[in-house]
Subunit: 315 residues, 3 copies
Amino acid sequence: MNHFLSVHDVTNINDLVAAGLKAKSDPFAGQHLGKNKTIGLLFFNQSFRTRISTQKAAENLGLKVISLNVGSDSWGLEMEDGVFMDGSKAEHVKEAAAVIGRFCNIVGVRSFAGLEDRDSDYAEQVFHQFKRYAGVPIVNLESATRHPLQSLADCITIAEYKPVERPKVVLTWLPHIKPLPQAVANSFAEWMNRSDVEFVITHPEGYELAPQFAGDARVVCDQREALEGAHFVYGKNWSSYNRYGQMLTDGRGWEITEEKMALTDNGYFMHCLPVRRNLKVTDGVLDSPQSLVIEQAANREWSAQAVLREILLGL
Amino acid sequence: MNHFLSVHDVTNINDLVAAGLKAKSDPFAGQHLGKNKTIGLLFFNQSFRTRISTQKAAENLGLKVISLNVGSDSWGLEMEDGVFMDGSKAEHVKEAAAVIGRFCNIVGVRSFAGLEDRDSDYAEQVFHQFKRYAGVPIVNLESATRHPLQSLADCITIAEYKPVERPKVVLTWLPHIKPLPQAVANSFAEWMNRSDVEFVITHPEGYELAPQFAGDARVVCDQREALEGAHFVYGKNWSSYNRYGQMLTDGRGWEITEEKMALTDNGYFMHCLPVRRNLKVTDGVLDSPQSLVIEQAANREWSAQAVLREILLGL
Amino acid sequence: MNHFLSVHDVTNINDLVAAGLKAKSDPFAGQHLGKNKTIGLLFFNQSFRTRISTQKAAENLGLKVISLNVGSDSWGLEMEDGVFMDGSKAEHVKEAAAVIGRFCNIVGVRSFAGLEDRDSDYAEQVFHQFKRYAGVPIVNLESATRHPLQSLADCITIAEYKPVERPKVVLTWLPHIKPLPQAVANSFAEWMNRSDVEFVITHPEGYELAPQFAGDARVVCDQREALEGAHFVYGKNWSSYNRYGQMLTDGRGWEITEEKMALTDNGYFMHCLPVRRNLKVTDGVLDSPQSLVIEQAANREWSAQAVLREILLGL
């Protein structure tokens, strides 16, 4: 693996899941791989799990870690080519990426969607520019349209808990108080569409994911119908793709409750966190033994470690 | 030792002081103890000495350190149970604590008093929640009502400098320009009340510490009378506990001067820092050989190391 | 070397350049030197290259690194002696410097010019106070009037690329949208004046550097004339020293273009970064093989490593 920007950079999901589970059972086996190597982690946005789990995974592999909050620790970056730079951005990504690529052997980047301009968000310019100019492998720590380290952690969690060979996995839209990016939902769909699962998406009208992410997934408009017989219920809010970045409904009635979970086949509840309790999903569901949200978050360490290990092997 | 939230978690203060002095004389003797282990440091508030000394102590013991400014690096945390989370807090401590407990073997937390609601501050909810949900040892890096790593450093300093077996230690209130928490004063009183010292507290009327912290300490209203014959003068400002969080006086006349230090038995001046020069204590006192404020701060490294070592031994 | 605040702390520039080039060719040769030692990096201002390159260099040498954003991670610091501290600064540098000097074996400090009060900026009080009170070597990570780690990296880059034994080096003023400090230009001049080069400075009227920095350098007012036959063109904006901190012109006509580079002797373009593309220098120049800006930034790691190595050898 050279870059890790999406599922398209992965040769075989099952092998990567297996590598994650191996790291989980023996975290320090690859500690020599990162010796005298450094990963730089650039955060254009806030981070809790991603920051900690990626640092942890890197250090398990013997890597040094340098974290930087872009825009507060350092300067704002201009992403457009050919600009006359007399605005608020003091540095161009051409320089910033090339420079960090000289200091670091791998560079992780987090940069969320602005939700203002769909074409711009879906062009993933930040990542394209870093990939183009850094000269070293780039790892996606959540981009405008994807969160592949999360999706891999989700696959690891499903592999650990699936009660049948080919489980039914339902991605359900949840209510929220403000518009959120589609990244986690897009990415989860993209990985599920390439996994050996029965994959169903349910959401209110108008919340269709972009076709390139929804793929051939079955979309069921009635949430209760979708949940029937599910082995995994994956909750997430996202804003509209078609009426880009908008909230079309307050989402009342779409929260996950114990009563809805009873429709599933003793299903597990999953969510990438942070989750707003009782708004998106009830305390009862989150505090039940069927909630996998903590295990899923813990698996972020092993998904990052599987990815960094494969990148290190290719350096 | 499992958690380190207050003096109540300490079996024997003298043993812990001795462990701190041993670390000071041989900092790297326990470097194997933290191998392949990680401490997470969560800051809800600013920190200088605590941040650096705890990181240093952890690294002396071979621990990896992950520091995080909650609310800027990551999200605001909801502390109340059962809340419908449609406000500004994006994540519940139930998840945040459980997740960091999966990534880290020990978790340090700093969270100051809000000084708005006494019951809430004195309930120490943040720490109770982390203790309840993290599943790993929690270290108090200063809470609403206590600063035990500081108090242990104070005990180490007193042990190093005491001119007699049972010294007279005076905690004196100092002026300040804004209301400050009672944490350092509470904590110091709590540790002194369990130490072999003659302990006296002096403060203007209305600044009585909470009874559970003042304990059986002798309170002397006249500062000069209190200072007579003191071997250690421990200065600190705090706001009123009874009229909670209020400043009842401008404190004029309560600053520590060379003339007041002359009342002591060649006493040492102590303060946890930061200290506002000339407002709380004169340059003359702080720059005299009787000032221990730097040594006291330097001992923060050894108090943290003594505590982390004992926690690591119990893992 | 004890402190590294300016070229005046350097015994022999050529030896230090050679040490940098040696570190570049064998980065981990001195990894034992920093064992069980810690460097503290204090940032009063933003940083990208300096932060990363210094951390990287320190870790190459086996040092532990503790970075701190002063004023956000911790408190604002009072720099004046004898102050009655009832303002916004909660801590005095006397304490802060002494304390960090007890935790760290070396302390790096970044503190930019305020550009309000020339005497204050040029007094370099922050650095004098840290030098006075920390009790350990201080490294200048860019001060009000100097950026010596940058200047050393510049010297390393010139040593690598010079086509003749005694190259012509031209420092040229560039346009900008807001007033910038003189630090980089001052420092570069100070190092060039002590190097075996033909050194020329060119700038619009009113932008004369302070005499102690300009030294005996030849100043040529006509930029095109200055560029003729240059082997290295070092671009930088700075505000006026005489009309302190002011912008006297919009600088139109002073940007570096391919047409101007054609006046040189196949010259290289250098800039310390960040650089505003097309405002200061055209895309065409920055993207040409004659641009050294990335190599120059990469050499920051080796300049820091040469300096830290020499300091460690003297501890």
